[in-house]
């Protein structure tokens, strides 16, 4: 799994609430049998017209905005369990997603792929959007070890929560399967004891 420690980057702001996984990656693109290549269809129907021409008003088509951090409105990733949503975001070049609220399954999927979901307060999220509105190059500093996110320009900083086990997985690039496989004997004794 991809490691994550520290990141300073401009952001791509998407100030919409309840962004569901059907918007992140529409179902018709789920027919692939590998994990790669979903990035080109990230936010497909918001990003492209029916004739595949880019919609200029969509933020990912605006060259003013770039960066490895996606910032979105609350309840990000609701809907389907498709891990393709996390793969698509990562494949499009993002390493972290910030929102004031994440849907559970999306959050778990992101963590299992080394894509860091960062839940901030509504107020801090508004501050991020405000700073990007004022200056599209406004950067954020994400520090996983210290669990903080900072708006570089204003110095405003907030802490975020992360399960300590998942944190160590991200920092070291381990995944859950490595962890559980090490407990195989315990699993077998559990089965026998039932």
């Amino acid at each position: 799994m991809k490691k994550f420690t520290k990141l300073t980057s401009a952001v791509v702001p998407l100030n919409i609430e309840n962004i569901d996984t059907d918007q992140i990656i529409p179902a018709r693109f789920l027919k692939a049998t590998t994990r790669e290549g979903f990035g080109e269809n990230l936010f497909r129907d918001w990003r492209y017209n029916g004739d595949n021409t880019p919609k200029p008003e969509f933020v990912m088509n605006n060259p003013t905005y770039s960066g490895r951090v996606l910032v979105a409105g609350k309840n990000f990733g609701c809907g389907s369990s498709r891990e393709h949503a996390a793969w698509a975001i990562q494949d499009a070049g993002f390493d972290a997603v910030i929102s004031s609220f994440f849907a559970d399954i999306f959050k778990g999927n992101a963590l299992n792929n080394g894509l860091l979901p960062i839940q901030v307060s509504d107020d801090f999220l508004a501050q991020i959007f405000k700073s990007v509105d004022a200056n599209a190059q406004s950067a954020l500093e994400v520090d996983l070890e210290n669990q903080t996110v900072t708006i570089v320009e204003t110095g405003a900083k907030e802490s975020f929560e992360i399960n300590p086990y998942k944190k160590s997985c991200l920092i070291n690039g381990y995944d859950d399967i490595d962890f559980i496989l090490a407990q195989k004997q315990l699993i077998e004794s559990f089965e026998q004891a039932r």
Partner: protein
């Protein structure tokens, strides 16, 4: 110590619990389908691992399959490849597959219960968010991502933090023309599309207890639409009667043993929930959604809430949703012409749903402007419908009875609603583009969908029931 139902089942499945780590939770049954499994099988190959407990794994093809001419090769190349890949993977790893052409094939959340695979007290997972459906039997059932599918393949376990618990009580009697789908759409409209996030929900109360198993499945199915990982209902005589005699249900001595255990599966009287909500069944009208998340629902006679009345931070998203739907603030939906009716999906494609629709449309005909698709949840449902002559009723009404699959719920196959068209759908999601690019979905019960099919517009089914 007193425990909730969720805690009882959870604690019985914890292989290891350690401070600072998620629990290692044992999974009794793993359901898989063609869309979210190929990358997980690939992962096993890369690690050189087998499926640890193949006999606890059951596969079907549902998301991507055509609903016409299922015995012919799938026309769409990528879909065919994905379904073929499932067949190949199941053969290689020794997993039982109920694929196309098998009498048990169907939507994964329909076949589990009807085959007696879904049982009280089990832990069940599937790479599909509507796995919560199985909670209707008093099981802990939830949707997982593909990395977790691989985890369960490899270890029959998942790393999971114990969820918070919520109890939702619905008491009293439902009005005429109001069913399980209306109950759940009502609850979601009350608490929002994120109101259950982080929780496992136990549904209780007299209105829930009086429901059939299939209606209970409709309720639990949509738990995820308020963000909850799962929803469940304590098993009772209705549950036991439903299970008895099914293909893989315990029998003989095994049945007696299982039944004795199942009877212990309820929340203790003084068990503590992290949150408790109570609703009155009499307050619930036939429901319909007007927006692009399932929380944007209202009683069918109501008017669409105004953008101005929304919280400041939500106004932009709310307006975007209404614009997508082509609806105005304060508009009524009654009388609004529609183009398609879809009766199907893991929410409402079981035999009782089909019976209810058939009973309503008998001696009626669909409106000329409407296309109606009925997609049964499984081969067994399809066969049962034919045995009961429902197919003849649908045919006479101009409703097209198709073959089983997820179909227009998510439009992965060719069953798509065209751009700009309105579809009254018994499925579970009204997201933008869910049923086809720029398609507009209005979620409703099978009865409300059938009424719209007959009149060609959004209709309060209660008025038609009164006339009858």
């Amino acid at each position: 110590m007193s425990k909730t139902l969720v805690e009882k089942i959870w604690d019985a499945h914890v292989v290891k619990s350690e401070e600072g780590f998620p629990d290692i939770l044992y999974i009794d049954t793993h359901l898989i389908h063609e869309v979210t499994s190929p990358q997980a099988f690939d992962g096993l190959r890369k690690r050189g691992l087998p499926v640890f407990r193949p006999k606890q794994t059951v596969a079907t093809a549902d998301h991507n399959v055509p609903t016409l001419n299922q015995l012919l090769p799938i026309k769409e190349e990528l879909s065919r490849y994905q379904v073929d890949m499932l067949t190949k993977n199941c053969a290689e790893f020794g997993v039982e597959l109920y694929g196309l052409g098998h009498p048990f094939q169907g939507i994964v959340h329909v076949i589990g219960p009807e085959l007696g695979i879904t049982l009280p007290g089990k832990t069940m997972v599937c790479g599909d968010s509507h796995t919560s459906t199985h909670g209707a039997f008093g099981a802990i059932a939830f949707g997982i991502g593909t990395s977790q599918v691989e985890q369960v393949f490899a270890t029959q376990c998942l790393l999971q933090s114990k969820p918070k618990t919520m109890k939702i009580e619905v008491n009293g009697e439902l009005g005429k023309g109001v069913g399980a789908k209306d109950i759940i759409l009502y609850i979601i409209a009350q608490i929002s599309a994120a109101g259950g996030t982080g929780y496992f929900i136990e549904y209780a109360g007299s209105a829930i207890e009086s429901l059939s198993m299939e209606a209970r499945m409709t309720i639990c199915n949509m738990s995820i639409e308020m963000g909850a990982r799962g929803g469940l209902i304590a098993p009772d005589q209705i549950t036991f009667d439903y299970i008895k005699g099914r293909e893989f249900a315990p029998a003989g001595e095994e049945w007696d043993k299982a039944l004795a255990y199942w009877k212990t599966l309820y929340s203790d009287a003084d068990a503590k929930f992290d949150s408790v909500l109570t609703f009155n069944a009499a307050d619930i009208a036939p429901m319909i959604t007007y927006g692009t998340n399932p929380g944007m629902g209202m009683g069918i006679q109501e008017h669409i809430p105004a953008t101005a009345a929304q919280p400041e931070t939500e106004k932009v998203s709310y307006k975007k949703a209404l614009d997508y739907m082509g609806f105005d603030d304060d508009a009524a939906l009654i009388g609004k012409p529609i183009d398609y009716v879809f009766i199907g999906s893991c929410t409402n494609s079981r035999i009782e749903d089909l019976r209810e629709v058939a009973n309503f449309v008998k001696d009626k005909h669909k409106a000329e402007n409407v296309t109606v698709w009925i997609v049964p949840g499984s081969k067994q449902v399809e066969q049962q419908a034919k045995n009961e002559g429902l197919d003849k009723i649908f045919e006479a009404a101009g409703f097209q009875l198709r073959e089983p699959g997820c179909s227009a719920c998510l439009g992965m196959n060719e069953d798509k609603i065209p751009a700009g068209k309105y579809c009254v759908s018994t499925s579970n999601r009204n997201f933008e583009g869910r049923q086809g690019q720029n398609a507009r979905t209005l979620l409703a019960s099978p009865l409300t969908a059938a009424a719209a099919a007959v009149t060609g517009k959004i209709t309060d089914v209660r008025e038609m029931l009164e006339k009858a």
